[in-house]
Symmetry: C2
Subunit: 714 residues, 2 copies
């Protein structure tokens, strides 16, 4: 058996569940003489793993000249791996090609960026984004990468865990697609994407998607003679349905190319002896779905994680991890779990790229525990410890410090105690690694449409775009569910694993488009006795934007139309005058056989109705789209889910204190999160699955930015 | 003498300095039976004033039908004014036309918005923004407003302070221009703006600005036959210098129309017997400069204030008042002071439009004290107390509560204690009203260019746009000055009042455009022995974008050019490798006679140099544009200002704790602000003007979101 394994629940070492607790530690920055001491400090803090970039930039300073080892320790990757092994720490190696890491050219060799401009990613007009934003699948870039891997992989392979070494995982590239999206958009490098070639990459995608040129032309409103003749659409044009289709297709094609790139890197690593699991990291909680094709394409063992910063400079949304951050982190952890992985945060803030605003030990600890509360099963502090940059390689200051727990000079900072508090908590409660969220309700995610939000911003010819639906999901009912203590979890509308549970009600935020198989799955669920809240519209088209009203037809209803009343007064389920804060929807008449639950009191139009299905199943449809703001929103969601027999797992008297209940066997942890800058008090009670009664936990006073785990049972 | 007066320093009642401490209290919402008790509660909390909208919507429910008085109290404005007078509170009356206040149609009568679509503000294409976004100067709107004022003004006039009544001020409209800017942009209603008419409003503006059609055509690159023939420019086009000129001209014209509207309202009020001072409120700290023409146009007594919310819903930048908020609040208070007014915040958060995220008592108190620390001399909580909306008039919930200090049902909430703590602090320290900032350095503001930032986003043919300069000012050196404890204040580059002080160094963030008179004023200042830091470029054109290099010529230098080196290493004044985070500038060669202070170590180009002028005067020019992030930025600014003989008034050991020192006579308050969600500690010392030595204040531990005023002297 492999010493370190993982499944969608957690990491295991020799079969025993464990939280992967890693810290970023750059051998090329930290003085070698202090490696061992700093490693031991990290083990004392609960650490069991380290991560390091292996920068191509520093190891191949000029083309074909490779530098490993050497007296200064800066290039001594191998000694680092040996030292980590001796210190009892696993290592995640991140050999690129990209590192970022505040290195010049994002960690690519200078010669590569300067001497090969043809490699650069390009926008639709053909202009390059910037010197170090490369077109991943450009054959010459893959060739240069292979030459780099030829040198570094044998070294890494010797130290993989299967051969008794420290390396537990090797990372593919770094925050893939980030250097495109942040600096230009999707890549349109013609040589890479092979536009205009009948057997090219773009034509192959179209052939696979459409089968026939006629079908492509029908859906695109085009008249191309062949797949090879098809051109990519200009970005941003979604003014017509045919343009919207093309935009979505290019989005899918682009992310497909990320999947192909990941595969190519994986093949290169595997072909050079790397037998440890492969991982990769999404740049941020909102970008996990960039990797839908990647997770399909890369052969296991492979794992997708995410990076969960809350501030890196003064332009970030907030200086501290807020409830809004928690929603994003939850969404990220849940999507990773639904994709089959133990939710892993490969960059969890261990400081910040900026000295100001500061990452304080109090905020950071709240961030770490909040991520645990929200499902994180593995983590890596970026960074655990710093040191001086090799001259000429850094883009920031000469000391790469990050305000890390252990500073560049080796000094132990107060942040270390936060890392240690959490690390020892996790080590002492290893059972938590297996603990799963106890769900009172489930939010069904249409992962494909959530990603399509990137290109489908304006509604166009439809009632509700994917972007608006995606924003509503997070800022509307998901936020409400946390405020109301409704114990939300997520499930994947594209999979069958959740449908057998007809007890826990489902919340489905629908855009106007939903694939037919997803609509059918929802119908089967309702037929089998499932209970679902559908909002704020019913889909009218499938994922290709072709008419598809299976779900609405099943419910005997129209899809919902825009409420034209400029000053509606929406009252639903006894909750009066519910603030909308956005376009809401109504039905011209109550569907036949449905029960009326809510109306616009001004126009009299139905805005919420319920229909019984079979076997006790029922659906509630609510046309309300809102930004969570008022107590009324909590009362609304609670009242509707009560009609669907919701059984929340916990109760918290303070809607500002968000809670999760995580259970493994007869043990549970209730996490009470105060993610505000002021103290909060609350009364707490919960009923874990193993308890036949509600546990009265009493009164709690939480300090500003305190996340309190309450351990229950066993 | 008027019982209540004001100047640029503070408010005075019968000549004695006082902080105007007001609370919003809506007679049309709060139950009449509870008015007196809630007023007394506010007086007990230190209050001396109330404010209320007087909604046109509720007092003229159908055209020509006016409702005042009545048994329910909801329309009993007069009794409210009498009750306030009896309770010993002044009143700020806000009779519109607009109120907003979460009223339908923003407080305008429904019949007005529904029946007169021709009144609506329109975009360049001629489409209206929305039903209740009116074109202010439309003659029919002014006529309807006059009819409303005919009814309400006599009532208000009877209760003005000059006649022994409660009304200390009457507000012109509400957050003017907001209902345009937020919902469409500048107003292009052709009937209002009178495009195409030789004696129309737009032609008159052009005639006044250009003098001759030939001059207009020269600057605009146009060939109009007359001013009347000139068309407004399409918004957003600044691709050429002529387009940029037209865009700035329309911006100035639009805000000129706001000034004209203000004047018309003032005339209407004055003409109907209102003899109390008039006020108006800028929508937010960033919009004060929308009113440059207004403050010129409205006859005194008139006062411009601002609204300083930090959150109203989950989409706001932060849930708590952060240092970033403090920069905006400081900037707002300083601009109000420079325009000649006691900095007044007419809407300071007394709750939030949303129940979630919450406005906590701790955060709110920090907000209030931070605003005092940053110069606020008058304030009005929005809202102090709530109540039920008149049915059919509210856009939110039926109870208009805001989580206010005194709730809709009259319950006293914890927030009341925050209001009381601050109110009694201000009442017990009335001397603070006269206290002025002790400045270690001064940031010279080019108010015209700061407003031009709205239209001059991309640099176009110039090195640095007004938008980039404005952002750099706030997020660069002003933030750095607070972190470094350099005691910044602001002064108005368009006025002479600051130039006689050649001791306190000046920091001038220049866009590529600066009016000739401002360049000349800077030259006179340097000639007279003044010391200035100029960054990140020197201006090359005047405010009309015509060549004007007076300042650069005086310094014998070019204006600075973009540093083409993609990986510069900037070291200045002994501070090594300073993070830029943005395009910086350099000089091809050191200007003759200048001393080199900093270079790009990679390219060798000068990036910072100093030149002596006359009488001990000197200028330092720094090409660095950065986002404040690193300790190096503090060291850089401190080192350069030290060369200009800066004398900071305080020292704080913790760069995250921002301090201001405010002094009146022999008394001072040092405000130490911790605007983070975690505790902070610091050592403090200061030297007020009245002290011949530094005062060692010792060690302070500040709780999360604690603003501590330390009272010194007398």
């Amino acid at each position: 058996m492999d010493p370190i394994t993982f499944d969608s629940c957690c990491y295991r070492i020799h079969g025993a569940p464990v939280h992967l607790y890693s810290g970023e530690f750059h051998y090329f920055r930290v003085p070698k003489a202090d490696w061992r001491r700093r490693m031991e400090l990290f083990r004392e803090a609960g650490g069991n793993c380290l991560a390091t970039y292996v920068p191509w930039l520093i190891h191949e300073p000029s083309e074909g000249e490779f530098v490993f080892g050497g007296p200064d320790g800066k290039h001594d990757l191998e000694d680092f791996l040996v030292t980590a092994r001796e210190a009892g720490l696993w290592v995640i190696a991140r050999p690129g090609p990209y590192q970022y890491s505040e290195l010049v050219y994002d960690g690519l060799p200078r010669w590569l960026c300067d001497n090969y401009p043809q490699l650069r990613a390009r926008n639709f007009q053909g202009n390059d984004f910037r010197r170090s934003s490369i077109s991943y699948l450009h054959p010459l870039f893959l060739e240069k990468t292979a030459a780099w891997f030829d040198q570094v992989c044998p070294l890494l392979a010797r130290h993989c865990v299967g051969r008794g070494g420290a390396i537990a995982a090797v990372q593919l590239d770094n925050e893939m697609a980030g250097i495109h999206r942040w600096f230009g958009g999707y890549d349109y490098n013609a040589e890479t994407m092979q536009f205009g070639r009948e057997n090219g990459r773009f034509a192959a995608f179209l052939r696979q998607r459409f089968g026939s040129v006629a079908e492509m032309n029908r859906l695109w409103g085009s008249d191309y003679a062949s797949f090879g003749a098809a051109r990519p659409p200009a970005p941003g044009d979604t003014s017509t349905t045919t343009a919207l289709r093309r935009a979505k297709d290019y989005c899918d094609f682009y992310y497909g190319s990320i999947g192909e790139y990941s595969c190519r890197l994986a093949e290169m690593l595997r072909g050079r002896g790397i037998d440890a699991p492969l991982i990769t990291n999404s740049p941020n909680p909102g970008s996990n779905l960039w990797f839908l094709e990647t997770v399909q394409a890369v052969p296991p063992p492979f794992l997708l994680g995410s990076d969960h910063y809350y501030t890196l400079d003064q332009n970030w949304r907030q200086n501290n991890p807020t409830p809004q951050y928690a929603v994003e982190a939850f969404f990220s952890c849940e999507t990773l779990r639904l994709l089959g992985y133990p939710p892993s945060v490969f960059e969890l803030p261990g400081g910040s790229a900026s000295d100001w605003p500061p990452v304080t030990p109090v905020d950071a600890k709240a961030c770490y525990l909040a991520n645990v509360a929200l499902g994180m099963k593995g983590s890596n502090f970026y960074i655990y410890t710093g040191g001086p940059n090799i001259p000429g390689t850094g883009t920031t200051t000469d000391l790469y410090d990050y305000g890390a727990a252990v500073g560049a000079a080796g000094e132990v900072r107060p942040l270390y105690q936060s890392i240690k508090d959490v690390g020892l908590f996790l080590r002492n409660n290893a059972w938590l690694a297996e603990a799963e969220l106890e769900a009172g309700c489930r939010f069904a995610l249409d992962l494909e449409m959530l990603r399509t939000a990137e290109v489908w911003q304006a509604p166009g010819e439809f009632a509700l775009s994917a972007a608006t639906a995606a924003e509503f999901l997070r800022k509307g009912p998901l936020t409400t569910a946390f405020c109301a203590g409704l114990s939300p979890a997520c499930c994947n509308l594209g999979a069958d694993d959740w449908a057998a549970d007809v007890t826990t009600p489902l919340v489905v935020v629908c855009a106007s488009a939903m694939a037919a198989d997803k609509q059918r799955r929802l119908i089967r669920f309702l037929e089998a006795g499932g209970k679902a809240l559908l909002l704020p519209v019913l889909p009218t088209v499938d994922e290709r934007f072709e008419p598809c009203t299976l779900l609405a037809d099943y419910l005997g209803a129209a899809a919902g139309e825009k409420n034209a009343n400029p000053a509606p007064r929406i009252s639903v389920a006894g909750v009066v005058n519910i603030l909308q804060n956005g376009q809401s929807f109504c039905w011209p008449a109550l569907p036949v056989g449905a029960d009326l639950i809510g109306v616009d009191e001004v126009s009299g139009s139905p805005v919420c109705w319920q229909r019984a299905t079979c076997n006790g199943g029922r659906a509630i449809v609510l046309g309300s789209r809102y930004l969570h703001a008022m107590r009324e929103h909590e009362r609304l969601l609670a009242a509707l889910l009560q009609r669907l027999d919701v059984a929340p797992r916990l109760q918290c008297s303070n809607p500002n204190v968000w809670c999760t209940l995580r259970t493994a066997g007869k043990r549970s942890a209730l996490f009470a999160m105060n993610l505000y800058s002021a103290p909060m008090s609350c009364e707490l009670r919960c009923q874990p699955a193993w308890s036949d009664r509600w546990l009265e936990l009493g009164h709690y006073d939480l300090a500003a930015m305190e996340v309190r785990p309450l351990l229950l049972g066993a």
